[in-house]
Symmetry: C2
């Protein structure tokens, strides 16, 4: 396989962006990534998007976005794996460069969620329509069951969940791209409305419009471009059962562990080598599961990490310095790419108020559904 | 790049399959491909699907289908490029094997179209929602405009279109997988209902349920498996404008020519080397455009090819021996993979009544929308 580098990154602000369409979002992020790389061309592209067909009545985003970007003609396809669509688009772009088929390949994720669709119903189509949705379960309910299982197995409490949200908002407050730029207190989190017991509003990521893009090329060509390249050390993907009821163990999100193991093996590294991570905290419980599944802490110790500051900026292993899905926002198809953008900025030392000092190796974990798919990428500054 | 081979193929019957769900369809095709290859395992998979979210309320088909197939855990993603979703899924699988990331990679396309959704409205989301659909255009209308432009530029007639349908049904009648297994006469085609002038019902592919699957591996490992491998010589993809109104030239489907040129260059071959082809005849006019854009005949001569028997079984360059989308059926996400299945059977000499004698090199062309995306694969018997 050819070695692959990120040579450009860009993203929109995340939020309820009433004045921006699906096209606008995509083009802003993609143009920023091209500009960041100092090029105005590319050879191929992948669009990470979960549900534009349902959200805004538009499929076929590959050619649409290539044309909007002014590069009609290049190969372009959409990649979908629910909320892991962005991460899987990045993986497809990585494989295309690694294969030798193309040199300059864009991976860009986009989602326009605030145009009037029934967002909860659309998101539910990422779970099992016949065996879950039909019986009335939505994603807050599914992750509430995961939280209950984690509480039963490891003694995790509602306060443990809440400290993750407090950390997310503290970081998000410093992130100029974040949807929520204000800190919240433990009391505010624990006093927020219940969505699905034990999960509350402030344990949950919001509905968000946004886009993010990264431009890849062979590592050996990276120096031709202006900026400081970042090497993609590994890509690991995995799946599990779509329906939670078919899973042997609810509390552990095994899919995250399997995708991470593949990435660690490919990189020849382990969790002890990671300096900073962005993980898929669609609900606070997911971040706690990720701490454990990624090997940052032992099984059962995830509940303590945020409270004890282990995953804070300045902690042993900073997780979600961007504010994560909780505070930065979660435009589902864009999230996996936005994680990569954040981490590339970290590895370049360009993360401003969110900079993790000395970060040289970074990990992104992006999840689909209630843990039915997961993809992990590991990056290294060069 | 590693050389890549097809080692297993399988497909369902195409038709209105009321007794089969999206899962059933996928699993039947995928299991047939695995059985054909003589293996019960795989390393990674891609699902080609246009719109299960809209058709049956189910996104996230990667993990769902991996689980249904009994291989939960493997990386799996959905690839979408409207009616070219199957071809682009095949391309993704090809790139993953070529890159060295994985050995046994499944590409399977599936679409369940007859479960009650407004099919015309769902398909229309592959065109430009804001600039075409909003004004009332649907796909018969878009291809009618392409037909009108072709008629104006090259003198193509309604009878020319109709001979393509006659050929399609003559072939489809011999194909055990086809939705329509009866020949039609020129008079029947020209007397069928108008959909969008000059296109009639029998110039148009039907609404279809179905699935198709191919299993790929590195060519150097192909001999480990039971059957006769087929080499994937090339994959070429291209895009054009999403909206027809933004296209410089309506009559020529330039996207097909560009995707073919990339594939021919990669294979080191030209149209004169192709012994049999499957092309995307969603409407008869599209097949005529493809004859020209793929270089099988000169520009402007496509109208004569079916009438003169050039593209018949036994003709100079047999096109759509399967019956094509018109007679075999068009489950949109499955079509591109089904083309590959048909051609692998041809190159193995297993095509039965549809066999093209001496076929050693074959070409598949799969289109998205009104020619906004196209992907061409070239295969060689080994």
């Amino acid at each position: 396989m050819r070695e692959v580098a990120v040579i450009g990154v860009g993203m929109t602000r995340f939020g309820e962006l009433w004045d921006m369409s699906l096209r606008d979002l995509f083009v802003e992020a993609a143009q920023k990534a091209l500009k960041d790389a100092g090029t105005d061309t590319l050879d191929s592209m992948y669009v990470g998007n979960m549900s534009a067909g349902q959200f805004v009545g538009q499929e076929h985003l590959g050619p649409m976005m290539a044309e909007q970007l002014g590069v009609a003609g290049v190969p372009a396809a959409r990649v979908e794996s629910a909320c892991a669509s962005g991460g899987m688009a990045l993986r497809s772009a990585f494989l295309e460069v690694a294969s030798g088929m193309s040199d300059l390949v864009l991976a860009a994720g986009v989602e326009k969620m605030t145009d009037g669709a029934d967002v909860t119903a659309v998101l539910a189509t990422a779970s099992d329509q016949e065996n879950e949705v039909y019986y009335g379960v939505t994603f807050p309910g599914l992750y509430a069951m995961i939280a209950r299982a984690h509480m039963a197995k490891y003694g995790t409490t509602e306060e443990d969940l809440s400290w993750v949200s407090v950390k997310a908002h503290r970081n998000g407050a410093r992130n100029p791209h974040a949807q929520f730029r204000r800190p919240v207190t433990l009391e505010e989190v624990m006093g927020s409305s219940l969505l699905a017991e034990p999960l509350r509003m402030l344990h949950s990521s919001p509905v968000t419009d946004g886009a993010a893009a990264v431009l890849l090329c062979p590592l050996e060509r990276a120096k031709e471009f202006g900026g400081q390249p970042v090497k993609v050390l590994a890509s690991g993907a995995a799946t599990s059962t779509l329906a939670l009821a078919d899973r042997k163990e609810l509390a552990d999100l095994d899919v995250v562990e399997l995708s991470a193991r593949r990435a660690y093996e490919m990189a020849g590294l382990g969790p002890q080598n990671i300096h900073v991570a962005e993980v898929h905290d669609c609900f606070s419980i997911a971040e706690i599961c990720c701490y454990e599944a990624l090997g940052f802490v032992e099984r059962g110790k995830g509940k303590d990490a945020a409270r004890e500051g282990v995953t804070d900026l300045g902690g042993r292993i900073p997780v979600n310095p961007s504010g994560g899905l909780k505070a930065k926002g979660h435009p589902v198809g864009a999230t996996g790419v936005a994680q990569a953008v954040t981490l590339v900025e970290q590895l370049r030392g360009e993360a401003g108020d969110l900079q993790v000092e000395g970060a040289r190796i970074a990990l992104a974990q992006n999840m689909g559904g209630s843990g039915a798919s997961s993809v992990v990428h590991i990056f290294q500054g060069v």
